[in-house]
Amino acid sequence: MSVAARSIGEAFVAIAGRDRVRDDADSLAAAAIDGLEPRWIVRPASIDQLGRVLALACDGRLAVIPRGAGTSLQLGNPPARVDVVLDLAGLDQVIEYNPDDLTITVQAGITAGALGAVLAPHRQWLTLDPPGVAARTIGGIAATNASGPLRADTAPRATCCSGCASCRPTASQPGADRRS
């Protein structure tokens, strides 16, 4: 490992903490996408950390692949390269939920199953039903625009997603969203 690579790894550790950055052989092998192993797996604990990880990756021209539950990473073409697997499972909080508004704002790493458990006591549910939905993350479902058989009925209604905030590789502050 070069000096530069080691210092990038340490910079990730400085941002997210040692237990949230993996670069051991077993972890990297387990995180391989289409046989391509990343150099680091980073699991930010906050949006702030996520923004700083992306800014650092942008500076270092590192290829980043975000991962939710990892159920759909094999879809599509194999990646040309991957340096960082950005594990979003640590960002799984409900940000705002007012059942009367019929909307909920969550972080990308929450699984549809966990979200459903929040909604169920209020007799509400998420109409998205891609295969294996309970284990999949909301961020992953959005990224792949996944859907299931129920879309035949629910598609003409108002859309399920009414807004989102995202971190860009060059920006550390996610902006406002649209919610109506």
């Binding site: 059942p99 009367d100 019929l102 003409p156 108002a158 860009r168």
Partner: protein
């Protein structure tokens, strides 16, 4: 040279005005229905086709085009796409963007691109979603493929009147929270009821401080059951009266007042500012309290008629334009109300669009990073900013937009 697309010119935000001069391209003669595809429940039309003309063309087969802005008798589908128009029935069916499957667009560089299409699951970026509501700043739409819906088996229209606008606001929230999604859920306040009764003869209850117009549609059994529940919720919230339209004629009469509200306001004042801000539905009681306080503080009358079900306000701030002081007070009240809505988690516009009217307000709602993203997206479609400049995005010299819209001699927000 600025290019300004124009459909029927019914927009409320100055979207089809030419503040910088240039060339206006009218699409109103491009009004053909190119294809109606019943098996796939869609139609492809030219942008100048009048909204209601499409529904009329497919009604005999039991279909309709869902977005129903109050202007639907005269507004064009291209204009509906540009502003991402809404309407009373968008509570259940969604706004224009939920009914557009594809568009053909000539961009600011003269390229013809097709975004979206009939088939679901189109891979790649959702540029169609970005283009709907872009208010002519990406290019000119030359063909639109829209979704057609099948008309519901049964429709029930209920009118509930209340002695306090807060009771009505709470009933709205309770109806939705009970799991009922009406096709439409509209609210009118005391001042508006008076104007409508004098102006249209719709016969709304005279002594009510607020009226809810609730429309349910779907299978008969469902509509019956939900109608009873909605009525019960209104009674529980202290309704004075709950009236169910007995037949088609009575339904039409209940709606007549609502649809002609904007004209009826002429009974109250010669001019008004129309606001289009949105709050999360659960904040309705709070924003109505705030609205009354703002009106009192600035000594202006505010009449309300709006899409309560989705929290989309339409306060009409009344003034007499022969008295400049009144206009100033109305503008101050308008600005304050907009800020109050944003603070409650709302947006600057629900369905009218941004245009010239609200471009300056966008920074209230979006962070600088968000706006910069929009500038960059717009430049991908229109690198020279010739398409409808001065609309939608606030002028932003740092981004090299290269234009600063001249201030027209029309008060901000006064588009009627």
């Amino acid at each position: 040279m600025p290019i300004v697309p124009r459909g029927s010119g019914t927009g409320l935000i100055g979207g089809a005005m030419a503040p910088l001069g240039g060339v206006m391209i009218g699409t109103n003669r491009m009004d053909d229905i190119l294809e109606v595809d019943y098996p796939n429940r869609c139609a492809t039309v030219q942008p100048g086709l009048i909204n209601l003309a499409l529904t009329r063309a497919v009604a005999s087969r039991g279909y309709f085009f869902a977005p129903d802005p109050s202007s639907q008798m005269v507004s064009s589908i291209g204009g509906n796409v540009a502003t991402n128009a809404g309407g009373p029935h968008c509570l259940k069916y969604g706004i224009t963007t939920n009914h557009i499957l594809g568009i053909e667009l000539v961009t600011g560089t003269g390229e013809l691109v097709r975004l979206g299409g009939k088939a679901a699951d189109r891979p790649g970026y959702d540029l169609l979603g970005a283009a709907v509501g872009s208010e002519g700043t990406f290019g000119i739409v030359t063909a639109v493929t829209v979704r057609l819906l099948h008309a519901a088996e049964a429709v029930k229209t209920i009118l509930a009147s209340f002695t306090a606008i807060e009771d009505a606001s709470e009933a709205v929230s309770a109806i939705i929270a009970a799991g009922i999604v009406p096709a439409a859920l509209e609210m009118l306040d005391e001042l508006m009821i008076r104007a409508i009764n004098e102006g249209t003869g719709a016969g709304y209850p005279k002594d009510a401080a607020a009226v809810l117009l609730i429309e349910l549609d779907g299978p008969s059994a469902e509509v019956e059951a939900q109608g009873e529940r909605a009525a019960r919720i209104c009674w529980e919230r202290g309704a004075l009266e709950v009236r169910v339209a007995a037949d088609v004629a009575e339904r039409a009469l209940l709606w007549k007042g609502r649809k002609e509200a904007a004209g009826a306001v002429g009974r109250l004042a010669p001019t008004y500012l129309l606001q289009d801000a949105v709050v999360p539905r659960s904040k309705l009681p709070a924003i109505m309290r705030e609205l009354i306080a703002i009106g009192a503080r600035h000594r202006v009358q505010i009449a309300n008629v709006f899409h309560a079900g989705d929290g989309n306000l339409h306060p009409l701030i009344l003034y007499d334009d022969r008295e400049p002081a009144q206009l100033e007070r109305a503008k101050a009240a308008n600005e304050e109300l907009l800020r109050a809505c944003i603070e409650m988690g709302g947006t600057v516009t629900g369905e009218h669009g941004v245009g010239m009217d609200k471009a300056k307000n966008l920074p209230l709602q979006y962070a600088e990073a968000d706006l910069n993203f929009m500038y960059r997206l717009r430049r991908a479609f229109d690198p020279d900013s010739i398409m409808n400049p001065g609309k939608l995005l606030p002028s932003h010299p740092a981004c090299g937009e290269g234009f600063r819209p001249a201030r027209p001699h029309v008060p901000a927000g006064a588009w009627i």
